[in-house]
Subunit: 599 residues, 2 copies
């Protein structure tokens, strides 16, 4: 059984869900909650809002939800497949059988599948290529069907998917593509499952057609729709962040399967520059609320930073593909960062509420929602149970249920551990037990359960922040042998590139992959977060840094001929906690980047 | 003849357009271009796009433009009235007669007037109080009609206006108000012209009804529509900036006419806090693109700052009302600042292209528009001839045509000069000639042309940045006597409040009311604006400051354990120019706030 991404070639081979069994720990616990609570939560909401019902009554006059609500049903279905298929997962066979029947029942005779178009009273099929989301929904359905087939949890989805894919290959043989990419990855994965070369070719066409300004002009511009620059010619990701990252993942899939190294390198180059210039310290991407888009290079203010949860999921999907294609373990660094600072932040402890966007600076405590509707668009300082555009929770759901497949790879010589968690790994010809409290501690102990009598290579990803330890062990491993990796988890000061204007004069504290923050809940009585200056000459501790409390004057005009005095009347200790733990104890203010005492 | 704002009571009395004749200079030249070019430009576009045509063929199936396009015709009409009515203005009698006939012809028998609602195939009247903009358009029409009546340039508008106002007073006797304020100021001014108390009462009702969350819930929240907090209870302006400022102006009008000091003080308090915490150095307001809204206190990043032109116009309208009501000359400071840094920046030298939003930091040179549509939403670094939402140019048009009325006030004791320009002033019982090169120089010379033989008071506003000179002269003035004011126009460093996180470690240069900026066009060969650090220990010169060029490293990840070195390899001179002059010499990068060399 393979996982969500199964390239037929590449430097490293992915492992399947059965090959990595998370055993508790930071992510194992979250995976349990995801399977037990989040999936039921999602199904309940999608039923209540009528999004599943749209498939049951596609002719009903009043279809419910946005044009992309079908995709939420598909992402949920995909999550249920991975959960059912993973070792120790909650089985959702009945729900999957029902969903298979429901979805199949809504498919038209010619293979077309979408509940919002083409029926009496509905807009015509493919009448709005910018925002119609028809191919977008198809792409998510292909990913669900692939999960159903690979896990065996919902094999009936595959026939529906191939009929839909066949229709798409005919319909879009010569022109056209969707305003929101994702069909590209879906089609390539469907090709990988079925061997139908047409699906790969169609995905390649979709990738190649973009970037020539052929979509109808729109006020957000062609950048938003990834139609301003061909993927092959891009220098950096731009426009709508999730669209950009999904498209890039599809381009990698196409490049790998067709041997198009130029395309692969183009994506890798854009990703590198995006990491260097358009990424928050959390690994989050996308700084603009208005169009959910990347800003220009170094436009990364903490105030109202956007950093959509789905962009985090998409970043992991893209980085994993590049890791498999190139074998460069550095791609694991961004996965590590996004997992621990975006994905872990997004979900409440009970798995039933979520952040859609991730500000790095909360200046005013969240106000409790006053109405049902207000609850659904609740952002800025509180997790909400659902959103009118509710992609983030199903995206986190499908990622979390298949998470082990992102942690480990193998190659003919052995096994590579990219992420650290307590887990049983069967890969590269070995069986390994990994024990660790990562990210709470830096020690990783690997016990060899089984190994062949021939030399094997066990590779640890050494994060960028952990210069030092040896990452590659090649030898004949003995049963019960232990290999120990110790990553330095000393809290450290981190300073921003001076071109990130909005962070000038600030520092953050990181501990391993964890970005720390100061939350008002923890501060000394009466100390406000906008009064703190920290002393970076003092080594930070995990739970606190030293600093001073300044008292800004309050003139009637905030721009004055003299700098506000930086005298330090009150030394303070500034307690910190992991960013992913914030906003779990009621409304609060919070900041990651702390102003540095200039004296 | 009175001007746009004519309260029946207040500490200071407004002057009419005939009482202040601008005679060239910074604003006189702009007023000429406004009357000669901008108005013709606006009319041409509104005809071409069918916005005027909507009045001619209100039954036509395909009405053109947004639901608020009627208001653009009204704002243009108002501008034509003020231009026709000002001494030395271009007369537009024929156009005004035609517009009067056109508008009147579209009015329904019961007084209702809007081209987008109520006719066959159109939505019902008042069916969308959030976004319908029906009362908004009415408010702008009232302002046009008032201008037509006061100047005598279009007296026929008044009857149309009173019929519309009568309809509104019946229709909204008991409940309801518009998602976009402006009808409040319009109704009060109509009351001031006609003496019809009902119009004032209706305006008071509209002000009082807001803030109770009675408008339909919307994804932008009630804050956007100014329906979250009653005006009387507000602490600071919030939500959509133009809506907030228009409503505040209406509340001042109501407060002044009804003697409601509590309401007046509530607005003054909110304005004070907004100036102290939610205003850019340019005087611009509104930091969020998504909903054109105020950010939280101190959320004022230069990157992608919004600072809509219309919010600048609205700030001047509000400040002027508070000045008249309270007599506090400090309100002239913000008018001065907005005029010279927002309004002056908005308009191209030929009066035919405009900034809609005003970024304080342009990181990437504007790309020329490739299509007609792209031209219309051209923002970020270039002025455009028109916008799909084209309020800013008509708003600047009507302000500029009536500008003299904002410069001077009178009271029983004499005359107050709030803004400095070469002009002939007839007010407070005196005739004065003001001669000055302000804002290019700080000397203002007032020559007494006529004065009574009794003591008079001549008051100069002394800007906050110009501590020192005496502002009040009370005596018997002699004919031909000259009174000289000298404002210090030494360039000065200005530092931001430390709570404006996005500006930490930066300084700006100001000269009088002028905010300076660095534009790439002027920099030494090869020096990029993101490499500059300035030395604030060196006194700035008007045209340049001293600094150093740093060379940021370019690691793959922008957050590192060591600060980027701040060694100073290359001393550079950083040429500056007034912010209002930027983007007049082709695509460029620009920044107002300059990073300070920390060593």
């Amino acid at each position: 059984m393979t996982g969500p991404v199964a390239p037929s070639r590449g430097a490293l081979r992915p492992v399947g869900p059965q090959q990595v069994r998370l055993a508790g720990g930071f992510w194992g616990r979250r995976q349990q909650i995801n399977g037990a609570a989040t999936m039921e939560h999602s199904r309940t909401w999608e039923d209540r809002l009528g999004w599943t019902g749209n498939f049951r009554n596609p002719l009903a006059e009043r279809r419910r939800g946005w044009e992309f609500s079908d995709s939420e049903v598909y992402k949920m279905t995909e999550a249920l497949c991975w959960e059912t298929g993973r070792p120790g997962g909650v089985r959702h066979d009945e729900a999957l059988a029902e969903l298979t029947s429901l979805i199949g029942g809504a498919q038209d005779a010619d293979g077309y599948l979408h509940t919002a178009y083409g029926r009496p009273g509905q807009p015509a099929r493919y009448s709005d290529m910018n925002f119609g989301h028809e191919l977008y929904c198809a792409g998510h359905f292909f990913q669900a069907a692939v999960a159903g087939a690979r896990t065996g949890a919902a094999p009936g989805l595959l026939e529906i998917a191939t009929r839909l894919a066949d229709h798409i290959c005919v319909q879009f043989a010569d022109e056209g593509f969707c305003g929101h990419p994702v069909v590209e990855t879906g089609l390539v994965e469907l090709y990988r499952v079925t061997g139908e070369r047409r699906y790969l070719d169609q995905a390649a066409k979709f990738v190649a057609r973009r970037g020539h300004r052929t979509l109808p002009e729109h006020e957000f511009g062609w950048q938003y729709f990834q139609d301003a620059v061909p993927v092959r010619n891009g220098e950096v990701f731009h426009g709508h962040a999730v669209r950009a990252l999904y498209l890039a993942a599809g381009a990698v899939d196409v490049a790998v399967e067709t041997g198009d190294d130029e395309l692969l390198q183009a994506v890798a180059r854009q990703f590198d520059r995006t990491l260097a210039r358009r990424t928050y310290i959390t690994g989050g991407m996308g700084s603009r609320h208005q169009d959910e888009a990347f800003g220009e290079d170094f436009v990364l203010p903490s105030d109202r930073s956007y950093s959509e949860t789905c962009a985090g999921v998409a970043t992991i999907q893209l980085a994993h593909r590049l890791l498999l294609a190139t074998g460069e373990t550095r791609y694991g660094d961004i996965v590590d960062r996004v997992l621990h600072n975006v994905i872990a932040t997004a979900v409440a402890d009970d798995g039933r509420s979520f952040f859609y966007a991730h500000t790095l600076h909360q200046r005013v405590p969240a106000e409790p929602p006053r109405t049902d509707r207000e609850q659904l668009r609740f952002s800025g300082g509180a997790r909400a149970p659902w959103f009118e555009v509710s992609c983030c929770l199903n995206n986190v759901g499908r990622l979390t249920a298949s998470l082990g497949t992102y942690f480990v790879t193998e190659d003919p010589g052995g096994v590579q551990l990219h992420q650290y968690a307590p887990m049983r790994v069967e890969a590269g010809g070995m069986v390994l037990d990994v024990d660790t409290d990562y990210p709470d501690a830096g020690v990783v102990t690997v016990t060899v359960v089984e190994a062949p009598p021939t030399p094997r290579t066990l590779t640890f990803r050494i994060p960028e922040w952990a210069a030092g330890p040896e990452g590659v062990h090649r030898r004949v491993f003995e049963k019960n042998e232990q290999i120990r990796l110790e990553l330095p988890m000393r809290p450290r000061w981190t300073f921003p590139d001076p071109r990130v204007d909005a962070l000038r004069g600030c520092a953050a504290v990181e501990v391993g992959p964890i970005v720390m923050c100061a939350e008002s809940t923890d501060q000394e009585d009466g100390v406000r977060l906008d009064e703190i200056q920290v002393d970076t000459s003092v080594t930070p501790e995990a739970g606190a840094v030293k600093g001073h409390r300044v008292h800004p004057a309050d003139p009637g005009w905030p721009y004055q001929s003299h700098r506000t005095a930086t005298e330090r009347p009150d030394p303070v200790v500034v307690p910190l906690l992991p960013y992913h733990r914030w906003a779990r104890r009621g409304p609060s203010t919070m900041r990651i980047w702390l102003p540095v005492n200039p004296s």
